[in-house]
């Protein structure tokens, strides 16, 4: 089960470390993580994408809740939240037509194209993880040189 946890914490040094430490100590794994200060500078929001069975996830949430530095821990329902991740792909250009094909693909996903060179180009995509996966599958035949991703940022929809 893929799970997105939205954790509101005190914006103080060392707290991200304590949270990642907890994941390690309790034998849980982090798939992606993103952190940033909120509009209120007293708090930071940490968004962690993890996986596990229902019992494990319940335990992670409780352990996080128990931490004194966490103010709020929410398990986000993907159908009731907006969640996005930014990924940069550096894709190989093998033939002149590749460049056009990749541009078309990028357009259809609402992605931006950067740094077009003779042998490669860079694509910036902001999307939900499943769309990123779909884009990646379509880009793979061209040859993906490298990628960098930010981890998921997510918020629950109002009234959800």
């Amino acid at each position: 089960m893929l799970v997105i946890l939205s954790i509101l914490v005190e914006n103080k040094p060392g707290i991200l470390w304590k949270i990642t430490h907890l994941f390690r100590a309790k034998n849980f794994n982090i798939d992606t993580i993103s952190v940033g200060v909120t509009a209120d500078p007293e708090f930071s929001r940490i968004t962690i994408c993890t996986h596990g069975d229902e019992k494990q996830i319940r335990q992670i949430v409780k352990q996080l809740d128990k931490m004194i530095d966490t103010v709020e821990v929410k398990q986000l329902d993907e159908h009731k939240s907006v969640y996005r991740e930014l990924i940069l792909f550096k894709i190989k250009i093998n033939t002149p037509s590749d460049s056009m094909e990749i541009n078309k693909l990028a357009n259809s996903y609402g992605a931006k194209v950067h740094d077009v060179k003779k042998d490669s180009m860079m694509v910036e995509l902001t999307a939900a993880p499943d769309q990123i996966k779909a884009f990646e599958d379509l880009a793979r035949p061209f040859g993906i040189i490298e990628t960098a991703r930010t981890g998921i940022a997510a918020l629950q929809r109002e009234g959800a």
Binding site: V9, E10, G14, K18, H21, A25, K55, R58, Q59, K62, Q63, D65, K66, M67, I68, D69, T70, V71
Partner: protein, 565 residues
């Protein structure tokens, strides 16, 4: 109302601790905590000098468990701080309220690998409830207030203050808050009434119910509530090892501890029960054997103050989150007010008594005069019920679990979670400081006693007389037992021989050493120790081959308990 004053950080620390009711600290000075010691010198707080920081931490732990107020220990930076890590981990594993204060190198030196610098905040993180490293002297009063609140509220635990030397020395305007609020900390939840009602329903519709009392009952002093419910419903009571003495062990409904070295009758009946009311326990592997076997069979009602314990090791049918004393009181009130229609437990109770009587009469014990069972029963007969017992870790500890009946609830303490050898003696000293008018006895083994025996100096010089009841098999007995049982008698690293001579050792510290080689000598030695105004080490040689039985091998279910043959 806040009181504002100008002073240095170290003085603010003493004042803030005095406001928390601290009367003494256990510790050892060093370069980085000298400003604190200088202010300690000027304050009304007593300093009790330990000979090793680990012992100072265990003393604070023992004090905290007995008084249920945080014990305080001091250590310097670097090795002083790393030496208390075992003490913090022990207190953390057993939910004991404690405050550790370490000196740290000055703020500007942090991160430069300075002399005696250690990243104690980092090292101790998984074994503290919380830690603070104030960077400005002015933070100290609030840090202390928050730290004590965190250590003693909800599920208690150790809290660390790591104070850089310049923060101790700098002067600031100090504001001493009377109350503090911590946004992300909600230590107590009101138990949900509907869950308690469901728990009652399940309990009353069971045919073979049992109560499993854990350490939480002792921490919250829910003895009277537990006993009232057990007696009202006539439900037999087993305990975890940490819960030993949560219920009087001479009570007709008491079956004693379950688990790896539980009582035969307790383990046998635990696996026959169809419903367990588990109070303040985390279902440790040492208690339940295998997790799967336990939850498949049983309806579990789980009461605990820590929501994270619910479903961690065992899945419960009903969970009541809250201070167990509060939860039990509500349960009791509901049981008293409403017409209780319960299943007929008579058949179950009759069976329980038969099993109990059978094992109490037929459990084979070691035949020698100085067998563990006989010496521990002699101890029980000779000391008053209010005596506080601590133990070390090993065979003697498990023999105490099997053969020493705790009669007055809340008088038995042991390092049950971390299993720290060397805990019992310094903890006994801390316990004696908490209750100076009550005899305190450390049930010890030679292996464990070796680890902190230099606390004899503290006991003698600080005038804190306790008894070390040293069950001496000249070996690391529990390891030896495992080597005999699981490794075909390939004995390695367990033979301690007659070294040191514990009578002479005690005497060299100015304590009293008595060797007891018969039950009469033992009785006499205990009586001498009870009257003594210095520490008494009673060296009791036993047969090194005596095993602790019954025994549930690690990772096996309770039903596969090995019995004495």
């Amino acid at each position: 109302m806040n009181n504002i004053e100008n002073m240095i950080g170290a003085k603010a620390l003493m004042l803030a601790m005095e406001k928390e009711g601290v009367k003494q600290v256990f510790g050892l000075p060093g370069g980085a905590n000298l400003p604190m010691y200088d202010e300690l010198y000027k304050s009304n707080i007593r300093h009790i000098l330990a000979r090793h920081e680990q012992s100072a931490a265990h003393m604070a732990d023992g004090f905290g468990r007995v008084s249920r107020k945080p014990g305080v220990c001091f250590a310097t930076s670097g090795p002083g701080a790393t030496n208390i890590v075992t003490g913090l981990a022990t207190a953390h594993a057993d939910s004991s309220p404690m405050i550790a204060v370490t000196g740290q190198v000055p703020v500007a030196m942090i991160g430069r690998d300075a002399f005696q610098e250690s990243d104690i905040i980092g090292m101790s993180n998984p074994c503290v409830k919380y830690s603070f490293q104030p960077r400005n002297a002015a933070e100290i009063p609030e840090v202390v207030k928050k730290g004590f609140y965190i250590a003693e509220s909800g599920r208690p635990g150790p809290v660390l203050f790591d104070i850089p030397k310049d923060v101790q020395q700098n002067e600031a305007e100090m504001i001493f808050p009377d109350v503090v609020k911590i946004r992300g900390y909600h230590p107590w939840t009101d138990p949900a009434i509907p869950e308690i009602e469901r728990a009652i329903q399940i309990l009353l519709s069971a045919e073979k119910p049992i109560i499993l009392a854990g350490g939480g009952v002792i921490i919250s002093s829910a003895f009277a509530e537990l006993q009232a419910i057990a007696e009202m419903l006539m439900i037999p009571v087993v305990t975890t090892f940490k819960g030993k003495g949560a219920f009087p062990e001479n009570h007709p409904l008491s079956l004693g501890p379950i688990g790896m070295h539980g009582h035969a009758e307790a383990n046998k009946l635990m696996i026959e029960a169809d419903c367990v009311l588990a109070i303040g326990t985390r279902f440790s592997d040492r208690s339940v054997g295998t997790f799967e076997e336990f939850e498949k069979r049983l309806k579990i009602i789980h009461m605990d103050v820590d929501p994270a314990e619910i479903g961690k090791n065992q899945t419960a049918q009903v969970a009541v989150v809250g201070d167990v004393r509060v939860s039990l009181r509500i349960m009791l009130k509901k049981l008293t007010q409403e017409v209780v229609k319960k299943s007929d437990y008579n058949k179950w109770l009759k069976h329980v008594n038969e099993v109990k009587d059978y094992w109490r009469e037929n459990l084979k014990i070691h035949p020698g005069e100085m067998s563990a069972a006989k010496i521990l029963r002699k101890l029980r007969e000779t000391i008053p019920n209010e005596t506080i017992l601590t133990t070390e870790v090993g065979q003697h500890q498990m023999w105490a679990s099997l053969f020493f009946d705790v009669i007055q609830p809340g008088t038995f303490f042991s390092s049950t979670g971390l299993g720290t050898m060397g805990w019992g003696f310094p903890a006994a000293i801390g316990a004696k400081v908490a209750k100076p008018d009550v005899p305190v006895i450390d049930i010890a083994g030679d292996g464990s006693f070796n680890m902190t025996e230099n606390s004899l100096a503290t006991s003698v010089l600080e005038d804190i007389p306790v008894i070390v009841f040293l069950i001496n098999n000249y070996s690391l007995g529990m390891v030896a037992q495992w080597q005999r049982t699981f490794y075909d008698r390939r004995m390695i690293g367990v033979d301690q021989q007659n070294c040191p001579d514990y009578v002479k050792l005690a005497e060299s510290y100015g304590a009293q050493g008595i060797r007891a080689q018969s039950l009469d000598e033992l009785e006499n030695a205990i009586k001498v120790g009870l009257k003594s105004d210095v520490a008494t080490v009673i060296d009791i040689p036993i047969d090194p081959e005596e095993d602790v039985l019954p025994f549930v091998a690690p990772g096996t279910p309770l039903k596969d308990m090995i019995l004495p043959s």
